[in-house]
């Protein structure tokens, strides 16, 4: 433990803005959603009707899980079913940032030579993230206990805290496996995404045992405000303990900065193609682009299947079908589901775009841009080499997503010819908004390089607008800031030309501003 507390203070110092921000936001999200629902649906009858209609739609079950009870608190937690995933994402990124990323930059070595115990880095990162998870849990407990039964509040708080603790341990284990932080992040996020999909699959099919395999489902298995069961909390503790043990075991066996796999030798000479900034950028980006593309191909299949499940479930329910017919028919409902899924995935793909752009900043601060810019390669060419990936990469990811989702959806409904082009088009239609985010990151990189990482904050804000805007009654003007607000809802909606043109134009202007800014500024030393 020697030195762990000193490192805890270091982590708190480095994350003094971002850490409190996500802890408070995620802690307050559930009660916000609950209050919004309590405000919209007053009285038992309305709440019951809302609960019944939500639970009857497997599309919602796929996204958020089953509705457990009709009271406002249970419904609010259900509606916030995605928030534990965000908590998991935040903690695992934090753990990797303070363990593997530190080792990769060599800073860990500097600290390692002081009086630190071998595992101080890992321990301190786990202490901070566990504490953060507990604080989120406490906020949930306190905010719900003020208005609703305290048992339910406790179960809800434990669910959030437990998810955080488990995914902190996932991050800790992933950080031991690869030499570079990017790889560790990829593994941990894949585990998180897998857990989310498993929950969706378990909740929408007969194989409900699948959900039990997913920590993302456990908060609901504690049934807050729906006849609490306490023992699933033991699952969190046991899994987190097991993962941590594995992480410490691996950390004890490997050298500082080494991964699990021994580094392999590369070629002694470069392939003829590796001859310019574009070839280098492709080398640097291709691994993560491939991972994202594959990930979204799988997501497309799963969500397509969920849309089909929704269709057939609705087809069996005569009364629901009648009700839906008035709303535009069952196919309109599954279109809505596909549109909602594409909306969320569009924001996720923006995450890829932002990351691809910020790769430039990482290259610059790691002093790897310097030797390239000291050759005849121009600054514009170097920037463009990364921006090509940031602009065309999301197109590839969305195309593959559209293909796999459209194909699965089309096969299920027996009409590939109609659905595939519609879904593919709807998926690609997210691009202008994705480009706006890439462009925001580029502009920050070029003009305010120290604030480049704020692009993530912008992305997070737009995500929250999309998730909460309607519930919170945010003013129109605020919602309009997000490019995703302006995208027509596709498939099913009316594909207007103007929003795409305007968003693409904004993206082009911001991209140009970023490139121009970088041409004129100092390269970081």
């Amino acid at each position: 433990m020697t030195g762990s507390w000193a490192l805890v203070r270091l982590i708190l110092r480095r994350d003094r803005f971002i850490l409190p921000l996500w802890v408070v936001v995620f802690g307050l999200l559930p009660i916000t959603q609950t209050s919004a629902i309590a405000g919209l649906y007053t009285g038992e009858a309305e709440l019951r009707r809302f609960a019944a209609s939500m639970d009857a739609n497997p599309a919602f079950t796929a996204l958020y899980g089953h509705v457990l009870d009709w009271n406002a608190a249970a419904l609010g937690l259900w509606r916030g079913g995605f928030t534990p995933v965000l908590v998991g994402l935040a903690v695992l990124l934090t753990v990797i940032r303070h363990t593997r990323a530190e080792e990769e930059t060599g800073r860990r070595e500097l600290l390692g030579s002081t009086v630190l115990s071998r595992h101080a880095g890992l321990t301190s990162a786990l202490i901070v993230t566990t504490a953060a998870s507990l604080v989120i849990g406490l906020i949930v407990l306190a905010t719900f206990a003020a208005e609703y039964p305290v048992e339910g509040a406790l179960a809800a708080g434990l669910g959030y805290a437990g998810t955080g603790i488990v995914f902190a341990a996932v991050g800790a284990l992933a950080a031991q496996l690869t030499e570079n932080a990017g790889g560790a992040r990829g593994i941990a996020i894949a585990v998180l995404g897998g857990a989310y999909l498993l929950r969706g699959a378990g909740d929408t099919t007969d194989a409900s045992w699948l959900s039990w395999l997913s920590p993302v489902a456990w908060p609901q298995r504690m049934r807050p405000f729906a006849g609490e069961t306490w023992w699933p909390f033991a699952l969190f503790v046991a899994l987190a303990a097991a993962l941590c043990c594995a992480a410490y075991l691996l950390a004890g066996r490997r050298d500082v900065a080494a991964g699990l796999l021994p580094p392999r030798l590369g070629p002694a000479t470069a392939a003829p193609a590796l001859a310019g900034p574009f070839a280098l950028a492709w080398r640097l980006h291709r691994g993560s682009l491939l991972a994202w593309t594959l990930g979204f191909a799988v997501l497309g299949v799963v969500m397509g299947a969920a849309a089909n499940a929704a269709m057939s479930a609705m087809a069996e329910n005569k009364r629901l079908l009648d009700m839906l017919a008035r709303l535009g028919g069952a196919s309109a409902q599954s279109d809505m589901f596909v549109a909602a899924v594409l909306g969320i995935f569009g924001i996720a793909v923006s995450g890829y775009a932002v990351q691809a752009v910020l790769r430039m900043r990482a290259e610059e601060t790691a002093q790897r841009a310097e030797p390239l810019l000291a050759t005849p390669a121009t600054r514009v060419a170097w920037t463009a080499s990364h921006l090509v990936v940031a602009v065309l990469g999301p197109a590839a990811v969305l195309a593959v997503l559209g293909l796999s989702l459209g194909l699965t959806y089309g096969l299920g409904s027996g009409d590939v010819g109609t659905h595939l082009p519609r879904v593919l088009g709807a998926s690609l239609a997210q691009l202008p908004a994705v480009w706006v985010l890439a462009a925001v990151a580029t502009a920050l990189f070029g003009v305010l390089p120290r604030l480049a990482a704020a692009a993530w904050g912008v992305l997070a804000a737009f995500l929250l607008f999309g998730q909460l805007g309607a519930l919170l009654d945010l003013p129109e003007a605020v919602l309009d800031l997000s490019p995703f607000t302006h995208l027509p809802r596709l498939p099913g909606g009316d594909p207007e030309f103007t929003p795409y043109a305007v968003l693409t134009a904004i993206a082009a202007v911001l991209l140009a501003a970023g490139v121009y800014g970088f041409r004129r500024r100092d390269v970081a030393t």
Partner: protein, 297 residues
């Protein structure tokens, strides 16, 4: 002789840190120019301005007849750079980095590349992180030395090299010089500077405090003298580090006052006298440490 680099009155601030404060530097064509100064003096900052990576706040900078900020791309065809702290891409092998940088500069001679890799005993198949500090440095050195660039900007190129490899580096720079190419060599290793450099510039706190050939600089420094005298000497003015032990005195004297002081000594009857010319080390120490000197110029 024509100047390859002419810097005058160059200033550069980072926020409130004044990294360069009216720096002057002249590097002549075909010479190896030593660039010296204590940590944080501004050597790397100067080199980055020369590369057009940083924009000068004020002053004029000419490099190979062009403006390093405006004509960066054309100038970069004619120069090669070795950074002080080489970081490589984790998933590229050393050989790939050498080829990539070489091709960006317009191609490199495969024979020279192979020869340099052998002389520096570099394994080009290892990947980024697998290299030790010295080996990372070698990757950048091979890439720069294998090029045909007429100007080499080397920022502490031997940091991390073992003595054997330092010797290889020294040979390589000599060959570069024989080919008539120009080298700006920032370094903390005085022996290396003494072996390689025709002229040196010493900077401190972002300003040039001394520039010239090594002989010229030696001339500016102090001679150490120890003498046995017949009678105690008095009024030895203008000497440094004076120690009197009975009839024995030892002190240092500025070279331009040597004659005057010796006359004064002989008046007291000199029994024995040893004098030692200044070492470069002492010269640098004085420039690195002496507050008043930096201020006076």
């Amino acid at each position: 002789m024509t100047n390859v680099i002419t810097v005058s009155g160059l200033s550069k601030s980072f926020g409130r840190t004044r990294a360069l404060d009216g720096l002057n530097l002249q590097v002549r064509a075909g010479e190896v120019h030593g660039f010296l100064g204590p940590n944080g003096a501004g050597k790397s900052t100067t080199i980055r301005v020369l590369l057009g990576l940083l924009r000068a706040d004020s002053g004029t900078v000419r490099l190979l007849g062009g403006d390093p900020w405006k004509d960066a791309v054309e100038l970069h065809r004619r120069l090669a750079y070795v950074p002080g702290d080489v970081t490589l891409w984790p998933n590229l092998s050393g050989g790939e980095v050498i080829d990539l940088l070489g091709r960006l500069r317009g191609g490199l001679d495969p024979r020279r590349r192979a020869e340099l890799i052998e002389r520096f005993e570099l394994d080009p198949r290892k990947k980024g992180r697998a290299y030790s500090k010295g080996n990372r440095q070698k990757v950048a050195l091979v890439a720069a030395l294998a090029s045909d660039a007429e100007l080499l900007l080397l920022d502490e190129p031997t940091s991390g090299l073992d003595p054997l490899m330092e010797a290889v580096f020294t040979d390589c720079v000599r060959e570069v010089k024989e080919q008539g190419r120009t080298v700006l060599l920032s370094s903390h290793i005085l022996a290396e500077v003494e072996k390689l450099c025709d002229r040196v510039s010493i900077i401190r706190d972002g300003r040039t405090v001394e520039t010239g050939t090594l002989d010229e600089l030696r001339h500016l420094t102090r001679t150490s003298i120890t003498a046995e005298l017949a009678s105690p000497v008095n009024g030895l003015a203008g000497v440094h580090d004076l120690r009197v032990d009975g009839s024995r005195v030892s002190f240092q004297v500025d070279t331009d006052r040597l004659d005057e002081v010796l006359k004064h000594l002989s008046a007291s009857g000199v029994r024995s006298l040893t004098s030692r010319p200044p070492t470069l080390e002492e010269l640098f120490m004085r420039h690195y440490r002496d507050e008043s000197l930096a201020g006076a110029r």
